[in-house]
């Protein structure tokens, strides 16, 4: 049996690295176990691009203030009140300092990306994206003396009465060994890449889900913790899911498979029927509901239908749109019933009222006499070629997690706090996100609770050692 570490961090993303750095800066010896190979290190962080932090004034990269209160109201709205207010407000308060702290760890900011969602005031973007952010955190962690192992799969946790003792680790070369540590930080993500687990809640429909992140987010640590008496939080069916191109790979398609064109057209299911108001609210506030909407349709597939007049209104896409000179021709290429799609488009076009189009505000272009209505940005689809993107639910991350306190300490099923187990990131996101999503909030949860978890884990180890 080898040395005993002060803090063992399981996971390798934003939350894990913030925890490792913060624990190390508090004087602890730290080992990070990342289950993925080095290239895929960092789980979903690889695919992120920004973080939502409160701030009282504009900065070099943020166009205006975003107060704690406004952040709280946004969170309240997207979750429909399904959040732990004390924890959430604590996170929002701490997020202000994260803007500076994360820079001290080598991460660089830039203004919001061109042609993307209008987040310039609320969200800080990572220069070079999420993998650049991760590279900076790993470099800093290693310079501080944090030890990192890749391809290190944790196969079991030894926990007695809410007290972590050791982790069993399977490595590609040395076989299985046991690693002891005084404190544990679990920052190993959710279970979105575990299709079998998703099927427990979604049934066969989960076979048609695409997973936007790495195939390594299998939720094995979450499962072990819940099985060892840690209290569960969040609805297992809730997740951050968006509509992504149906031609995307099963795993790890990332940001480039998403579609921002819903508000410029209509969305139909495999029976060529519309099923939701495509113009309900401006896109940055609505993009996160379309994954679940498509998941509820037969065979979990839908088609965004638009015409040639709007092609340049949204960002260029990885996969080109499928085109037809007539609506019927487009339908047959999509393997939809041509007559049904023609009828849907004709009825929609007939219902469009005249108005002045402006996609940046809730404009007055709407339909009348069609169900469901399109309440804004409704314009006739009539200029060939007619175009379509097939979309499927793209699961970004899951909300089922471990319940924690403000100190990021796990709570056991009997309501008592664990002596030495902490959690950060997606594995405890459900404490803050009961449902819904606001861009960049996953990274806020990761950095804020990662930093807290590392500090508290180091503090516990220090008290034990002295």
């Amino acid at each position: 049996m080898g040395r005993k570490y002060d803090v063992l961090v399981i996971g390798g993303g934003n939350a894990a690295l913030c925890a490792a750095i913060s624990a190390r800066r508090s004087g602890a010896s730290v080992l990070v176990l990342e289950g993925a190979p080095k290239f895929y290190r960092g789980g979903n962080t690889r695919h992120t691009r920004n973080m939502r932090c409160a701030h009282d004034a504009a900065t070099e990269i943020l166009t205006g203030p975003y107060t704690e209160e406004e952040f709280w109201e946004d969170l309240l709205r997207v979750t429909g009140g399904q959040t732990d207010e004390e924890l959430a407000r604590h996170m929002i308060r701490e997020s202000k300092d994260i803007l500076n702290w994360i820079v001290e760890q080598g991460v660089r900011w830039q203004p919001s990306l061109g042609g993307t969602l209008s987040l310039g005031r609320t969200n800080s973007f990572f220069l070079g994206g999420g993998r650049a952010m991760l590279n900076a955190l790993y470099l800093t962690a290693e310079q501080l003396g944090v030890e990192v192992e890749y391809d290190a799969e944790v196969t079991d946790l030894v926990i007695e009465d809410g007290m972590f003792l050791a982790a069993r680790v399977k490595r590609s070369i040395n076989g299985e060994t046991e690693i002891r540590a005084t404190s544990l930080v679990a920052a190993a993500g959710g279970f979105e890449a575990n299709i079998e687990w998703l099927k427990q809640y979604w049934g066969e429909a989960a076979d048609n889900f695409l997973i936007r992140g790495t195939p390594y987010n299998r939720g094995s640590i979450l499962k072990m913790l819940l099985a060892r008496g840690v209290q569960e939080v969040g609805d297992p069916k809730q997740c951050h899911a968006v509509a992504i191109d149906a031609r995307a790979p099963k795993f790890d398609g990332g940001i480039i498979t998403r579609h921002d064109s819903v508000v410029f057209g209509i969305v139909v299911n495999k029976h060529a029927q519309r099923f939701y108001d495509e113009g309900e609210d401006i896109w940055p506030k609505r993009y996160a509901i379309w994954g679940r909407l498509v998941a509820a349709q037969p065979d979990q597939i839908a088609y965004i239908i638009f015409d040639s007049t709007v092609v340049t209104s949204f960002m260029p896409t990885l996969f080109p749109p499928i085109a037809g000179q007539t609506v019927a021709e487009l339908a047959s290429k999509l393997e939809l019933d041509p007559a049904a799609l023609e009828k849907t488009v004709t009825e929609f076009n007939a219902a469009v009222r005249p108005g002045t189009f402006d996609h940046t505000i809730l404009d007055d272009c709407r339909t009348e006499g069609v169900t469901p209505p399109k309440t804004h940005w409704a314009r006739r689809i009539e200029t060939p070629p007619f175009l379509a993107y097939p979309v499927r639910p793209g699961i970004t991350f899951t909300y089922l997690g471990t319940r924690v306190t403000k100190e990021a300490r796990m709570l056991m099923q009997d309501g008592k706090p664990s002596a030495n187990m902490f959690a950060a990131g997606e594995i405890m996101a459900g404490n803050v996100l009961g449902k819904g999503y606001a861009a960049g909030i996953g990274m806020t949860i990761g950095s804020v609770f990662g930093r807290i978890a590392g500090r508290e884990a180091a503090k516990h180890a220090r008290n034990q050692n002295s």
């Binding site: 290239f39 690889r46 695919h47 691009r49 660089r108 830039q110 203004p111 990306l113 061109g114 042609g115 993307t116 973007f125 990572f126 220069l127 070079g128 994206g129 999420g130 993998r131 650049a132 590279n135 470099l139 790979p249 790890d252 990332g254 940001i255 480039i256 340049t312 960002m315 260029p316 896409t317 990885l318």
Partner: protein, 367 residues
């Protein structure tokens, strides 16, 4: 699709990158890409020449290999860039052979030229070659000044003509139909090129053997480039001395041509060695290995020019002066005539691409 396999691949990558855009803060390539939704051959050649191969977008990319999207922008643009030199070279017939055999051709050219000068001198008078010559005009005992000037002016003029023809073709392909560059854009491009603004990985340095960024390549490139400019200045000043003031080389160590040449010579020795070592150590994933010959040929010629020049300065009062002068002139001659077909053009094309970029940015800001 495009004319070549590499342009097809560059098009595929720019389509991937344009739907991601995470790298737009790293350099000029991605903002230029974002101004387009589709890419012509000229667009891709323009983007390829804007790329300084700092490697940051490769290290930062979530889709780089082994990911199935296989996004390797630095390597792809590096190959496309080298092919663009060949595509625009004038006359076209000379481009391909050089790209494949750059180092060998440069060295053969340098040695043949040195041999020619040696032979020329030996034919005239054996004692000249290995004699000790000092004082003004010592160099010209080997070869008369006017013969030297005529030979090298011809080589340089040819190089300039070939370069102008190539750049014209490049600019036509990448420029907008109006086609004229304004002074502001040219000035901006001079600043961007002069400080190697985009060889900086978005601010931390470039990526070489691993994922720790450093500024070494930028430093060595500065030494090489400014060393080259100083040597060029030394030669120009000496030419003015010769024709305007009637003062003949060699000049004393404290005189302007020698001071400029010495500083430049040191840059031309240290810089190319540093660049060579950096190239050898660099992650092969980032390199266009097929073009080693062309790159090394250029680095070697610059190094030899610096080395023989410095050796000549130190040993100019000994019997080694004759052969060293011949070697030095051979190296410079080879550098001149291979300029339009070798790695030298990277500076010209990149500068032109930077002018185009500055122009596009101004157009965007104005609209």
């Amino acid at each position: 699709m495009h004319g070549t396999r590499i342009l097809d691949e560059a098009d595929r990558l720019m389509t991937v990158c344009n739907s991601c855009r995470y790298c737009e803060g790293l350099c000029a390539v991605f903002p230029a890409m974002e101004m387009r939704r589709a890419f012509s051959d000229g667009d891709l050649n323009y983007l390829a020449n804007l790329c300084h191969s700092c490697g940051a977008c490769y290290v930062d990319c979530q889709f780089s290999p082994p990911h199935e999207f296989n996004v390797n922008v630095p390597k792809t643009l590096s190959v496309a860039r080298a092919e663009s030199y060949a595509a625009y070279a004038w006359p076209r017939a000379l481009s391909g052979t050089f790209a494949r055999n750059g180092l060998v051709i440069s060295i053969i050219a340098a040695l043949s030229m040195a041999a020619f000068i040696l032979g020329f001198a030996a034919l005239n008078d054996h004692s000249v070659l290995f004699g000790v010559h000092t004082g003004p005009g010592a160099f010209y005992e080997l070869m008369p000044h006017n013969a030297m000037a005529a030979l090298f002016s011809a080589a340089l003029l040819y190089a300039i003509l070939a370069l102008v023809m190539s750049v014209r073709a490049f600019w036509r392909d990448i420029g907008d139909p109006i086609g004229r560059a304004d002074c502001g854009s040219i000035f901006q491009a001079m600043r961007d090129a002069g400080e190697l603004r985009y060889l900086h990985g978005g601010g931390v340095g470039c990526y070489n053997e691993d994922d720790r960024p450093t500024d070494r390549r930028k430093l060595y490139h500065h030494l090489t480039f400014y060393g080259f400019l100083l040597c060029f200045a030394a030669t120009s000043v000496a030419t003015l001395y010769h024709y305007l003031l009637g003062r003949e080389a060699p000049y004393p160590w404290w005189d302007l041509p020698v001071v400029l040449g010495t500083l430049g010579g040191i840059g031309l020795i240290v810089g190319p060695v540093g660049l060579f070592v950096a190239k050898m150590q660099r992650d092969p994933e980032l390199l266009d290995e097929g073009r080693y010959g062309m790159d090394l040929g250029f680095i070697a010629m610059l190094f030899l020019t610096g080395l023989t020049g410095m050796a000549l300065l130190i040993l100019r009062e000994t019997a080694a002066m004759g052969p060293l002068l011949a070697l030095h002139l051979g190296a410079v001659f080879a550098l001149f005539i291979t300029m339009p077909y070798g790695k030298f053009v990277h500076g010209i094309y990149r500068f032109v691409a930077l002018v185009r970029y500055a122009q596009e940015r101004r157009g965007e800001a104005g609209s």
